[in-house]
């Protein structure tokens, strides 16, 4: 159970505070409600490039990192398809420095064309390092546009190609900042060695006078229901083993469907006692690794299977075995013990995540973004309410062939 306070400042900034006396640090986490899904299809990768630019200096701060480090702090950020998240962990006595820095870059950036140019290079090298120079690194670049034809989830946060990143202009940066980087489009989560009311007062002090824009994001095109199975085979890849991906459309992160799908994925592949691990890795040895998981996106997401074939297995046999597991899931009832196991695992996972003040600060902001920070304390209940009947019904609806996109990634 995480105790926290929640306030909305006059300019629309939402502030969540939690006190954790077990650490000498405070984490200041700011989530901006903008991600890769808000990009123009002609300039993908921009939200992430922009995240890099947020470290290039603001109205009154020449060198962001320098100030963080001088205060004994550490800072980083990440961009997802749904949002962009920044955090500073700092010794509690220097909390105001973090608030000064974060509020100043919400107030305005001080961007040079040189900084834009350099960060484009850095991001293009990131593209190469993570997606092009890594075995299997390009799979999601191909899989997303197979599973999504309309919704902007069809591109990854890094963007469709390095050429898109090249195209970004200073004007794009200014517009993006003006529209999205405003107090009413942001959530501050604070956790650490600071009293809740004191933290709130300081946030009010540093962020209270930043004007909001009132900008409303245009509605995103929603993905139409998939009506037939899709399949893409990519051959001749410089990898040692074939890989199969199967993805199915499912509900959004806050839907009831998400929790049911999450439990299905746990029963299938969480831990060495899970069904896929036992059957496909240990018993028939068709796969050397296999995973089932849910993406947890704010718009309807994906249920993902990925499996790497063992030496000597054929794609036909491996794929048939994967499908048989799904059929089996629908036809043979899940046992009470299997369900109880997942409930225990979830309980443990939540307990472990509550240890860390950093994850508390980011989770508070994330759950508030989903609709209500109180979800952080209610998730356990949502899992406990799931019935065996619900699992079966959901699996039947989910694992229809016409809801599936399959990607076969073959070795040379």
């Amino acid at each position: 159970m995480i105790k926290f306070s929640r306030h909305i400042l006059e300019n629309g900034l939402t502030v969540l505070c939690n006190t954790d006396p077990g650490t000498p640090f405070v984490s200041v986490n700011i989530l901006y409600k903008v991600g890769a899904k808000n990009e123009s299809p002609q300039k993908t990768g921009f939200a992430h490039l922009f995240e890099h630019l947020m470290f290039s200096g603001s109205v009154h701060v020449k060198d962001f990192d320098r100030e963080v480090q001088l205060a004994g702090g550490d800072s980083n950020a990440y961009t997802t398809n749904d949002y962009t998240n920044y955090y500073i962990t700092i010794p509690a006595e220097n909390l105001e420095t973090a608030l000064w820095l974060e509020s100043d870059r919400m107030l305005g950036l001080n961007l040079s064309s040189q900084a834009l140019d350099v960060q484009k290079h850095v991001v293009i090298e990131e593209f190469k390092q993570r997606y092009l120079n890594a075995p299997y690194g390009d799979i999601w670049l191909k899989l997303r546009p197979l599973a999504y034809q309309v919704h902007p989830y069809r591109w990854p946060t890094i963007g469709i190609s390095p050429e898109h990143i090249e195209k970004a202009t200073e004007e794009d940066v200014k517009t993006f900042f003006r529209e999205h980087y405003t107090p009413d489009n942001a959530i501050v989560g604070i956790s650490g060695n600071i009293a809740e009311d004191k933290a709130l007062k300081l946030v009010q002090k540093w962020f209270g006078d930043i004007p909001s824009s009132g900008y409303r994001q245009p509605l995103l095109p929603q993905e139409p229901t998939q009506t037939e199975a899709r399949r893409l085979v990519l051959s001749d890849n410089p990898v040692p083993a074939d890989v199969i991906y199967k993805v199915y459309h499912m509900g959004s992160r806050i839907s009831e469907n998400f929790y049911v799908c999450d439990v299905i994925s746990d029963i299938l592949s969480n831990g060495q006692s899970s069904r896929l691990y036992r059957h496909l890795i240990k018993e028939n040895r068709l796969f050397s690794s296999i995973d089932a998981y849910v993406t947890g996106d704010t718009d309807p997401g994906l249920f993902v299977f990925s499996g790497k074939l063992s030496e000597g297995s054929t794609v036909e046999a491996a794929e048939a075995a994967m499908e048989k597991e799904l059929k089996n899931f629908i036809e043979t009832p899940v046992s009470d013990r299997e369900l109880q196991k997942v409930i225990h695992k979830t309980e443990a996972r939540i307990s472990f995540s509550e240890i860390n003040y950093q994850s508390k600060a980011s989770n508070l902001a994330f759950f508030e973004y989903l609709g209500d920070a109180e979800l952080i304390n209610n998730e356990n209940k949502k899992y406990e309410q799931i019935t065996l009947e619900k699992l079966k019904e959901t699996a039947r609806e989910l694992f229809r062939p016409e809801n599936c996109s399959t990607l076969i990634y073959l070795k040379k």
Binding site: Q69, G72, L107, K128, L132, V239, Q272, H344, E347
Partner: protein, 429 residues
């Protein structure tokens, strides 16, 4: 309320580390047990640490295979049953194999300690290393190895350790594909019997260590038979190669991985604190000279950093980065330039002050919370020290001045002693 944004809010002096005291207890059979207690947790962690790392194996892969096979079957439970018990109680079991130490880790909810701890003791005392499970493990690991081999970073690391330590030393990574076929159940069972037993380990408990958990541990681990330890510690000679450039060609590489380094400074050496500070200036944090120059000014890479690794018998220091093939030579040139600057010029006062603060904060982060402290303690104990080390190192860092750091750069960062390894596509070959 108006605020003055032009200047930074006043900074406070960073706190001294709060090192949690640990207690030591000897179980009835002689196993040493260390306890780091934090009543605010509802979970606990148990680490069982053995002198059974790669250093002690007679051929590659034996040590890591042996520890990883512990949950694949005992006299009482098969692999599926063991997995079922840990999973059912939401516990995480993990195996680690380092150069000298091998570890068994359990993270569990307090309320299930009675179910999870006994199984951990059982896999330690009664494993059978079933041949069939071993075969599955090795096939899958071999495939992972083949994936790793595709990475330029892996190729560069391997060549770098070969140059530093020589192929005959266990610190060098010499694993080949064929090594996976040379492992037999007998070899693993022998290593298990010799090294992974109650006579060759200590137990570290951290988190909410209630009397009940201590009791369960005593009733399980405290009753294991403990063979008298007459094991010989092998002796290896370090055989470093001559310094200089080494190129590993990978035709289809999009980027080249660069490793530049040499012998480093050991944790117990007098200059350790100062050298870490010097390393931080060069490449040990986001605002470092290497990051500022090579990433933030030139955009050659997504990241470049340097680090010092202390090992019981030696230490090494290394700069690591991945760059576009066309920037390889320019990047090496810039790294050397930054090293030369450290050897010839004094670090400006403002920069030194900043790095001291960052490093101080970083050390506090390293021991923030009971589980971080137990990890830190585990890595200090083999050197005969504990987490009081953190207070000492912070004190030493505060004393470091620019002339001393320049001396250290001259002493430890001689460009003529560097190994420069590049793995990727070399355009001008």
């Amino acid at each position: 309320m108006t605020v003055n944004r032009k200047i930074s809010p006043p900074l406070s002096e960073l706190s001294v580390p709060k090192v949690l005291p640990y207690t030591t207890q000897v179980l009835p059979n002689g196993i040493e047990m260390l306890l780091l207690h934090d009543p605010d947790q509802e979970v606990f962690k148990m680490d069982v640490v053995f002198d059974a790392g790669a250093y002690y194996q007679k051929q590659p892969l034996v040590a890591t295979t042996a520890i990883n096979m512990l949950n694949e079957g005992t006299i009482y439970h098969n692999s599926a049953e063991i997995a079922e018990i840990f999973d059912y109680y939401g516990a995480y079991v993990d195996f680690n194999c380092g150069m000298h130490k091998a570890e068994l880790n359990l993270l569990s909810l307090n309320k299930f300690a009675e179910e999870t701890i006994p199984i951990l003791a059982e896999i330690l005392s009664s494993s059978t290393i079933p041949a069939h499970e071993l075969d599955i493990y090795l096939c899958n690991k071999k495939q992972q190895f083949l994936v790793e081999k595709q990475k330029t970073a892996w190729l560069a690391r391997k060549e770098f350790t070969r140059l530093l330590f020589g192929t005959n030393h266990p610190y060098a990574n010499t694993v080949k594909e064929e090594d996976y076929d040379r492992i037999t159940p007998e070899i693993i069972r022998e290593f298990y019997k010799e090294r992974l037993n109650a006579g060759n380990c200590f137990v570290l408990l951290s988190g909410n260590i209630t009397p009940e958990i201590r009791h369960i541990t005593t009733e399980t681990f405290g009753k294991l038979s403990r063979p008298s330890n007459t094991l010989q510690t092998p002796v290896y000679a370090l055989q470093p190669a001559l310094p200089g450039r080494s190129k590993i060609e990978k035709e289809d590489a999009v980027q080249t991985s660069i490793r530049i380094g040499k012998k480093g400074v050991r944790l117990t050496d007098e200059d350790y604190a100062g050298f870490l500070l010097l390393n931080t200036v060069l490449g040990g944090y986001f605002g470092s000279r290497l990051m500022s120059n090579i990433r933030e000014e030139k955009g050659y890479t997504y990241g470049i950093h340097s680090f010092n690794v202390s090992l019981p018998e030696t230490a090494y220091w290394c700069v690591a980065t991945d760059v576009d093939n066309k920037y390889t030579e320019a990047t090496i040139e810039e790294v050397l330039k930054e090293i030369r600057t450290l050897r010839s010029e004094l670090i400006p006062e403002a920069e030194l002050n900043l790095v001291k603060n960052f490093f101080h904060g970083d050390l506090l982060r390293e021991i923030d919370g009971v589980f971080a402290q137990s990890d830190a303690l585990k890595h200090k104990l083999p050197y005969g020290i504990d987490n009081c080390f953190y207070s000492e190192i912070i004190h030493k860092i505060k004393q470091c001045n620019a002339p001393y750091l320049r001396e250290l750069a001259e002493k430890y960062l001689n460009p003529e002693q560097l190994y420069i390894v590049t793995a990727g596509k070399h355009p001008y070959n």
